[in-house]
Symmetry: C2
Subunit: 700 residues, 2 copies
Amino acid sequence: MAHSFKIFLFFTLSIIPFSYQIQHPLDSLTPNEFIEVQAIFNQSYATSNHNITFQYVGLEEPNKQAVISWLENYFTTPPPRQAFVIARINHKTHEIIIDLWRKRIISDRIYNGYGYPLLTFEEQNAAKQLLFKYAPFLASISKRGLKIEEVVCASFTVGWYGEKKKDGRIVKVMCYYLDGTVNLYMRPIEAITVTVDLEEMKIIHFQDRLMIPVPKAAGTDYRESEQSPPFGPPLKRITVVQPDGPSFSIDGNRVRWANWDFHLSFDSRVGPIISLASVYDTEKQKFRRVMYRGFLSELFVPYMDLTEEWYHRTFFDAGEYGYGLCAVRLEPLRDCPANAVFMGGFVAGQDGMPIEMPKVFCIFERNAGDVMWRHTETEIPEVLVTEVRPDVSLIVRMVSTVGNYDYINDWEFKQIGSIKVTVGLSGLLEVRGSKYTHKDQINEEVYGTLLAENTIGAHHDHFLTYYLDLDVDGDSNSFVKSKLQTTRVTDQSSPRKSYWKVVSTTAKTESDAKIKLGLEAADLLVVNPNKKTKMGNLVGYRLIPGSVAGPLLTDDDYPQIRGAFTKYNVWVTPYNKSEKWAGGLYTDQSRGDDTLATWSSRYSLIKVYFYIFHFALVGIIIMLIIGLIYRNRRIENKDIVLWYTMGIHHVPYQEDFPLMPTISTGFELRPANFFQFNPVLKVKAPNDVKWPNCSISGNA
Amino acid sequence: MAHSFKIFLFFTLSIIPFSYQIQHPLDSLTPNEFIEVQAIFNQSYATSNHNITFQYVGLEEPNKQAVISWLENYFTTPPPRQAFVIARINHKTHEIIIDLWRKRIISDRIYNGYGYPLLTFEEQNAAKQLLFKYAPFLASISKRGLKIEEVVCASFTVGWYGEKKKDGRIVKVMCYYLDGTVNLYMRPIEAITVTVDLEEMKIIHFQDRLMIPVPKAAGTDYRESEQSPPFGPPLKRITVVQPDGPSFSIDGNRVRWANWDFHLSFDSRVGPIISLASVYDTEKQKFRRVMYRGFLSELFVPYMDLTEEWYHRTFFDAGEYGYGLCAVRLEPLRDCPANAVFMGGFVAGQDGMPIEMPKVFCIFERNAGDVMWRHTETEIPEVLVTEVRPDVSLIVRMVSTVGNYDYINDWEFKQIGSIKVTVGLSGLLEVRGSKYTHKDQINEEVYGTLLAENTIGAHHDHFLTYYLDLDVDGDSNSFVKSKLQTTRVTDQSSPRKSYWKVVSTTAKTESDAKIKLGLEAADLLVVNPNKKTKMGNLVGYRLIPGSVAGPLLTDDDYPQIRGAFTKYNVWVTPYNKSEKWAGGLYTDQSRGDDTLATWSSRYSLIKVYFYIFHFALVGIIIMLIIGLIYRNRRIENKDIVLWYTMGIHHVPYQEDFPLMPTISTGFELRPANFFQFNPVLKVKAPNDVKWPNCSISGNA
């Protein structure tokens, strides 16, 4: 993108980099903007006479074309800064758009459909507090001989299991026991379920089913301070050193490194959003567009335990809890290496006021000792050629800790032009308290692995669905499936009897682009049908999946209806500003009537229709409307969005107790005939750092 | 293994660490031993009156039980040092075992079956030289207007395409053109095929089919010195620093790092061999066995081009060319980071004398900025817990450059107890010269991608088959498939309609353990059925595959008969010292009668039998004998070997021209109920290195 350099100059010359005229239209709301939003909001809805909670406040994404054209000429006015607010006002869900320049609400509509907005921390905390004043709960705790001051509770979304009438905004609260550990998740207090109405903020149901021993504290604490010998062999000090500082620059939210230029913003629902990722083409001497916007759209985590306290644990971490809301402060030298630079973010509290999230991102150059490319040539008489380029890449990291689980999210930018996404899963398992202390005692389905005495690690899945609005060298792209097809040699033309050939088909409609990975050998490409290389190949990017997993729940099971977007690993939709949330905008208690599957697939549409049918007239109406608007839309040579779902089936093992070693999965978007030739052919290795002349002090 | 510490002391106290009494029985042959082998050999076969070439000289692997018992009591005599030699003596293949202590040949048998041993560099070079004195070839070169002094040739194995009679040891020689580049592989001189008999060392067939333009040199040279601007943006200096030195120790060929202890040796056929890998169990206070021996058994690379000069390009890089023989000297600070330690190896030349291979391995601690485990606990009132352990692992690296391709081979040892194998593919594509200069001109099957003018990158596969003799906590192991099975809820016991449960089955015989990955969700485990955790779970290790690919050739195609072992990603066989080579001991011109598939599978046996049937009585006899000895053997609670094949289908893209950016694949062996709990729970983060106090000189 030619604009990039211009803006670069502009930014660097600019004295007041955050003045409106150069505020990037995709920047997250600033603290001042959050405050303004709340002020403007209060003009219409004074808290004095309204019951108000801010469930979501974020940037109202500006019109894509307006952003692009502003970037092409940054002296024109950028698209207006607007905020998108989802608030509960007097127990109704309002979608409000606020214009921050004109300082007024420009749209305010009430949502009456299925599902509810993100939960706030404040209401979840309030819900938990109720238990400590609730006699039956206190009785249950003392009945178990537990100390109430050692009890910690957590709130769980309730999902949807075919109920016809709406339950209102409720959560189930379940509790854990500390008493000698900080690892509360390894000490569940089973069988007590408290249901709280978040609107009334009162307990509407209490159940204490039976007595199950609370797993013991011994061996559960993971703090270094609490460990006792024998310890493992220690490692000597090791660090990364960049004597001349990092090779990247950060101007506001724009990051430039090597041949990459992108915009990084933070959102309370999704966490990191990568926008306007462009790669510099050394040969063409310009930046070329790769991805307009990429983020984690939804994270579906269904557990496989059918017991009363567990069956509903089928979480949508982004849509229910807020993947960004759950982001944690990164630990320097631990979460990120010594050469990392940290960035903060802001979210709105329940009252709409900004809350700072320090060190929510780290950005660093990864120097893992990998080889970017190499060759040793020994065939040439009297000449030995050895050329090697070590690999250095750029990582943008955020860790989201959704209750027990820690998700380490990396966006990696490689000099070869690849964007790689890796997610590492660590943290604490959700375990169920059990009477069992040895596997031999178990003669029933316990839905998990006995990890320790009275401790069963429940089977579960993680499905991470990414929204990838690729704009390969421009907006108009197509999705191409290059199938590797076994072909028999029928004539006597060759001593061979077979080979494989590439049969490429361009997806005309959404249904052509739905793919379950692992069934056939194929390269999956997003190409620009209007741009060719000198050789005549369409410029493109290729999706290289990592480990592949698909859902194992039946299509008609309620969690799977809500998570129907996981049925295919790959979907392609025409760009539509309103289609961002694979699980729907209102995921809490959603009924699957607003998912990627319903937008994208007539089949799913009818399926969901069918299940909704039994339950609500409004369901039918909604489905019909959606059905009329969307029906297997055309996606050829259009502005398209690639949706990719990666999954992990998690059978816990004892190594996951009391805390899980990281397990990772990911995918890569790699240039495929995007460049005329190897884009790193001319990349020189960084100069060497003389070694071991480095004298370093430490805290050894 | 309790011995480990004993030996550690012994080694460290030992003044003469390489004296026989403590020479490790699995050490590669020393230079002196190579010399001895040759001397002993010459007593029986004096070169004066014999035509002799050494095709392979390596360690005759000692009896496994003898090694184990020696390790359990290192004061006893170790198993005898023996060498295994495959030599051509007067045009016959001899398998000779030489006892290095008794200094004599103890076994000498002539092999008359199908297939021939590894090619030597010397004979391949001699074959190439023939062309430069061969008039018809010189004529063809000048006919093309090429300068003979710029021509470089390479030798290609011929495979087997159903010929009934044996062809003898032949190679096809094809040539390339330099003249302004070192990237000979981008300048094939097509259509000229010269067939050389290696025994007679003479040209037995010459063909010049047609005139095809040689792709031009411009843009093909990859040397930094030859690049011209515009260059990409440079990166600042970056390095890894270990102020206290590395955390690993190397005694002879034994490597100890963190909780790992293993033996590393070098072999001309396979490259690195990892032996006796044991992991220290902090809780049990002892080393526990994980893998007796692991190495790359075969690397099958079939090309998909049926043209006269290409159809036979279906290489078995380990068995035909020698994966270790093709190992290259690693470039410090490029192939391996600043903290790497290098090791050399030795191979035998064609005359049997040792040839040093310096810097053939590097060993270094990988500090990629990853997180080994973490959790942030925010649920506890007034307490914020953040515990993070950065990940540091140990890498053993070798690069094998088999002609055009560079394979970067990493064995990674992780503190969590995992062994991870990663192979990166870089180097140069095999391209075919072509008349085409633009895709639009192409109306026929060209078997590849037009990468540059007159340059077609041929479609091909890489299948890497690993021999993994796991001994999980002892010799007797079983292979368990834990299938994740969708289960419907038929009663009203739960609002859920489905879940998945784990259905584990133990493979009784080889045929139970053959698995094509990607078809169903399952955890694959090697367990010790005689060892349980306190909780009653079988101790085990789990195979975590990376990207999955299987063969696309038809079963009856000749290359696929030879490469039938790739048909399943996973095979399990009972340990048998003689079964090491998935493609057979004699892979050059093999006919698939001695592959993993034939040993392991009755089905494949009959299939191969069927194809052999047409061709040779000896085939039938061999198959019958094999058939009688092996038939779907029992593998439950036995010393078993896990064979894992990972594959890459390679459709070239322009980014692969003129040199390929690395693309990687791999797999992980991860503890699964092997430990009582998270083995890195107590691992402390290495002490911090104060930063940026580091003052470093450089060559910037």
